[in-house]
């Protein structure tokens, strides 16, 4: 009998976060298998960022637990952080350091074996060569996003967490980033957790979507199954149904 004992890439069990009386994340449970791309969707204040914060051990849960590759993030985060990485437009790299200096610093922090080679590889893959020695703060939004992605890939993470990776990018650059993420996942069998407000992006990249509303997971399925179940044309319409509270009626009508 072939028994697969590998733990899920990410697993949450009744994960809860309260700030005083406000419930940001309300006892959510989910399990994300290794090698999958999962979208975390929801309107503003749905609890996506807090959930990501708890997965990365930046936020302490009030109750429940979250584990990554089998390690409890409240207790054993340092046993797994070197196998994870993160990118968000709301987190920057030091502006006055050049792209090469920033990537070298993070390469060393993550214990990358041959840093110059790894930086050169990323510069080639993400088309950073023309500005690799320019200060990070002087780059355009598209260039900054590519550099942030290079930092997130510096350690070839098994778990890649992306918070709106293509926010404020032009369609061409955004498409280019999505293509790179698809290639990275296919080559490295990486697990990607993606929070995004771009429904087209989620439909293209994700195997599965976790829909959040007011701290709860209100639906969880593959994008095409969600679209079919709600009787809609695309994920954006499903999102609006759920956000506006018309989701249950649409789902029943479609079923």
């Amino acid at each position: 009998m072939n028994v697969n004992v590998s733990p899920p890439a990410i697993e949450a069990d009744r994960l809860t976060k309260r700030y005083g009386d406000a419930v940001a994340v309300d006892a959510i449970s989910f399990s994300i298998p290794a090698g999958s791309v999962t979208g975390l969707l929801g309107g503003n204040g749905a609890g996506k960022t807090t959930t990501i914060g708890m997965i990365m051990s930046l936020v302490a849960p009030t109750a429940g637990r979250v584990s990554v590759l089998g390690y409890d993030m409240a207790r054993d985060a340092y046993r797994v952080l070197h196998r994870m990485n993160f990118e968000s437009p709301y987190v920057d790299l030091p502006h006055r350091l050049t792209v090469r200096q920033n990537l070298s610093v993070f390469g060393r922090l993550y214990g990358v074996a041959n840093i110059p080679e790894r930086v050169a590889r990323l510069a080639a893959d993400l088309d950073l060569k023309s500005f690799i020695d320019r200060q990070s703060g002087k780059l355009s939004a598209g260039q900054k996003t590519r550099v942030a992605l290079a930092k997130a890939l510096i350690n070839e993470p098994d778990i890649l967490i992306l918070d709106e990776p293509t926010a404020s990018l032009d369609p061409d650059t955004a498409d280019w980033i999505r293509g790179h993420l698809e290639r990275y996942r296919a080559t490295n069998n990486a697990t990607i957790l993606l929070a995004s407000h771009n429904m087209g992006e989620v439909e293209r990249l994700c195997d599965r979507v976790l829909m959040m509303k007011r701290g709860k997971i209100v639906d969880d399925d593959a994008p095409e199954k969600l679209i079919a179940r709600y009787g809609r044309q695309n994920l954006e319409e499903v999102f609006l149904d759920i956000a506006r509270g018309t989701g249950a009626a649409k789902k029943e009508a479609a079923e």
């Binding site: 030091p94 502006h95 993070f106 060393r108 922090l109 993550y110």
Partner: protein, 271 residues
């Protein structure tokens, strides 16, 4: 990336953080200038005052002999704390803190890198000024000899303890607490008796003053300059206090870091 574990302590990660701040210093001449500007202005002002008072007679002339030593030692304390705190604030200003907190960098490595940067900043800022004091006012700071090493070590330990506590408060409360890192040390200026003996303070304030490690250093400096006596007892007292202070500051920093995870402030670095 392989599944191999990340070491629990790594000099390489500390070195990475030192390099991060060294690249920053190297790229910004205003930051380098700022390091040396204030110690230089202080030295010039107190140097002239010392020269003027030395021409008077009596106790005032004797006291004046300690001014330059006091101002240079004060700068070690003040600059040591600022150097430590600035390294932390740079991460907040550049919105890089979350990147570091999700990396394998351990809190102790983060703290040790800030200590290393505090030393580097201090060397850049204060050492040239000591030579200028010798050139302009004939005051040989290095002539304090072995005592200088004891003063230096004790003042730095205190500066790191205070810097660590400030970093924890900014981590917990955001950049709204930034002003504290600039101003907290000035509370120590009157209480640690930088320019006058502890006996000057009212009796009720003196025990509080003696509980501050720098007080023993400044008192020891006056004993050395005025009486040519090295007070080892004062240095040991300061060192003992520093051990307590550093331990409390380390505990406080970890508590504040834990608290910042509870309130989610690491996800929203800012005011």
């Amino acid at each position: 990336m392989s599944a191999a574990s990340s070491p629990a302590f790594s000099f390489s990660r500390i070195f990475a953080m030192v390099m991060r701040h060294w690249y920053l210093l190297r790229s910004s001449w205003p930051r380098l200038l700022e390091l040396i500007y204030w110690p230089l202005v202080q030295m010039i002002m107190w140097g002239f005052l010392q020269s003027f008072m030395a021409k008077q007679t009596g106790t005032l002339a004797m006291a004046a002999g300690t001014f330059l030593a006091a101002v240079l030692l004060w700068d070690i304390l003040f600059r040591g704390q600022l150097g430590f705190s600035f390294s932390f604030l740079e991460e907040m200003w550049s919105r890089n803190l979350a990147n570091l907190m999700i990396s394998p960098l351990r809190p102790i490595e983060f703290v040790l890198s800030m200590i290393a940067m505090s030393l580097i900043r201090l060397i850049i800022g204060v050492v040239p000024v000591t030579f200028l004091a010798m050139f302009f006012f004939g005051f040989n700071f290095w002539g304090l000899g072995f005592a200088l090493a004891a003063f230096f070590a004790n003042l730095l330990l205190t500066s790191w303890a205070i810097g660590l506590l400030c970093a924890g408060l900014v981590l917990r409360n955001g950049l709204g607490a930034e002003g504290l890192t600039w101003s907290i040390m000035f509370l120590f200026l009157p209480l640690t008796c930088v320019y006058y003996p502890v006996a000057t303070l009212p009796a009720w304030l003196q025990p509080i003053s003696w509980a501050l490690p720098p007080t023993s250093v400044f008192e020891g400096m006056r004993a050395l300059v005025l009486e040519h006596t090295f007070r080892a007892d004062l240095m040991l007292w300061a060192f003992g206090l520093n051990v307590i202070w550093i331990s409390l500051a380390g505990w406080g920093f970890l508590k504040l870091m834990h608290s910042s995870k509870q309130i989610g402030s690491l996800m929203s670095v800012g005011e």
